[in-house]
Symmetry: C2
DNA sequence: ATTAGCACTCAGGCATTTAGAGTGCTAACG
DNA sequence: CGTTAGCACTCTAAATGCCTGAGTGCTAAT
């Protein structure tokens, strides 16, 4: 797509103005705003050319132009000047995230909240998942006579725990049997290997102890499963209600986002730059009908060098890409850093 | 307020019809629907009387009547016939909640989700808080050389854990010092007594070990604080978008609900029946402007006999009280039961 | 006490008008 | 040739007026 310098300047101006005001922009407004040394008529000619190339569209004849999907795409890819966060803002975000450190879920929750607040969009994050993760450690914490907490620690730094009630008292002997069983069968194995099926075969060899042991082992399997399954956290859906473009179909979108799992498909199908640059999916580029009025920006965060999960945001196509992309990028970076702290050296 | 039998019957019919259709109901519709042995004119007279008593109101002269706040109130207090859940539904709810048992937060999350789904309203729940709770047990779970998980168990059955990183290695010696310190100073004490201030005074007596110990103790204090602080969980906000009455001010309400803390004030200020009956706050009775188009139904769930937290729902004033009140009541009951399981005998 | 009849009110739907913003085209200009 | 002024044209949004139908309150008759 070949554009003259003037056309580029105009396209950028139109996109930015439309993002700011939400109103179609006309030739006159444009000359006034830019202080251009040409007349509205000239601008009109250029706008007609841009429309012919498919970069702009008209809601109706007597309105100004708004960027088309391709228009936003060109803007994002070639014209946009990114506005980074100020050092102060960065430090604030840093601090807020650090206080949540420890529990990965809580880190992601705060990250999503911060992102939503920062961008006035809906923010989504997926819990880290690492197919190559193995079980590094399992602990049994006594809680009561018949209650214990099972703790699983993976090589990717995930720590998950869950309380388990058993039918009989948990004796020292039982605990020992449990640890032995775990050490022999699961430690160092991929988390995917800790399944209920595997446990059933083990139970056979346990004889009479099996009955007492299974609740603990099943809990362990459930925990292992949660480390595998990526969960979606969504924050700030209500931000979207503020935008005119969602006035009509707010309900539809909200309902789609409630069961956010399909988003994962978008995340994985979109080819993304390996250098940590966020991906941008604009309007119609989106595979889901419900999202075709929306844009998404998302990036992978890396725990100890491994890409593990995604942080993203969803907003109207008319979003402030120049500001939001760097914001998202910064947050994925520090989320990765904070979460990497959990991985032992 | 004295009403004739016929007036009661009419009021109930009007409320129920308006709840079902959302349209103002007129005299003709009413006779048709009820198959009453009187003419529309008679009904009109009665309706005029009910309007005079403040139980009905007219959106405008040429429309039918809709119930006023007082009308709903009278209906809820005197006329309504509650529809209990079917045994099948109850069993399903039971089962779904049991699978979440173990973590109290997760129980409340599922309870809220179920409630939201069941009622098509927004559901809110507060984490249990028990001022009389004492620290029953503290455990330190080794995670890595410099990382440990602190687990706190309270007499009210709450289990909270958090990962803590320290500056130096966690030796057996350190762990022992930690346990001694905890046993002597915090075990059996109210959770409110585990404060950073208290820890600082302890640190003095520790001498050189203080520096190593403080991260662990501070984590402990944070955990104790989380057991104290009631958290709010909100689910199903998007359900509200489906109702006509929220079409206008959806954003305002959503925004209010985001920071749900103020709801706690409503919960505590409303006098509630001690026999486990849910409280109902209708429209204007609500202290917050943002909620004056809404009604709330909520009840306290009890853990081992102590009222601990609240389960509630928020929807349009025009909600199906007769069905929702029993639903909420049933859920508070079983949430209480499930959470009570965590309290050791 | 109940009812039929009737005049009255008012929101919502529909067509019409008006104002204004923005366009595309053409002819003139440097 | 690129740029510009001028102008007729298009189309939306807002304003206006009319009409219809649902629903009411009142009155007089049963």
């Amino acid at each position: 797509m070949e554009l003259s310098e003037r056309q580029k300047k105009l396209l950028a101006a139109i996109v930015e103005r439309y993002i700011a005001t939400g109103e179609p922009v006309g030739s006159k407004t444009l000359v006034d705003a830019l202080g251009m040394p040409v007349s509205p008529a000239t601008v009109r000619n250029e706008m007609a050319a841009l429309t012919a190339k498919g970069l702009l569209e008209q809601p109706h004849t007597s309105a100004g132009r708004i960027p088309s999907g391709a228009g936003y795409r060109y803007y994002v890819d070639h014209l946009m000047k990114q506005y980074d966060l100020s050092p102060v803002e960065k430090r604030i975000l840093d601090a807020k995230l650090r206080t949540a450190s420890g529990d990965s879920r809580q880190v992601l929750e705060t990250a999503s909240s911060l992102l939503a607040e920062l961008t006035h969009c809906a923010a989504v994050s997926t819990t880290p998942s690492d197919a190559s993760a193995v079980v590094r450690r399992v602990e049994l914490v006594p809680i009561g006579a018949r209650t214990a907490m099972v703790v699983v620690l993976t090589s990717s730094g995930l720590i998950k725990s869950r309380v388990c009630r058993t039918d009989s008292e948990i004796t020292v002997d039982m605990a020992e049997t449990f640890y032995n069983l775990v050490n022999e069968n699961f430690l160092g194995k991929p988390t995917a290997a800790v399944t209920v099926a595997k446990i059933q075969t083990l139970a056979v060899s346990l004889g009479e102890k099996a009955l007492l042991m299974t609740p603990l082992l099943v809990t362990l399997a459930q925990l292992a499963a949660t480390t595998e399954r990526t969960q979606m956290l969504l924050e700030g859906q209500s931000n979207l209600l503020g935008y005119r473009e969602y006035a009509q179909n707010a309900f539809e979108l909200m309902d789609f986002l409630r069961h956010a799992e399909p988003l994962d498909r978008v995340f994985s199908e979109t080819p993304h730059a390996p250098n940590g640059e966020p991906s941008v999916v604009i309007g119609r580029e989106n595979p889901y009908r419900e999202l075709q009025n929306s844009s998404m920006i998302f990036g992978k965060y890396a725990i100890a060098g491994h890409e593990s999960g995604t942080l993203g945001l969803i907003g109207p196509t008319r979003m402030d890409y120049a500001r939001l992309i760097p914001s998202l990028q910064y947050l994925t970076e520090i989320v990765g850093k904070v979460l990497s702290d959990n991985v032992e050296e």
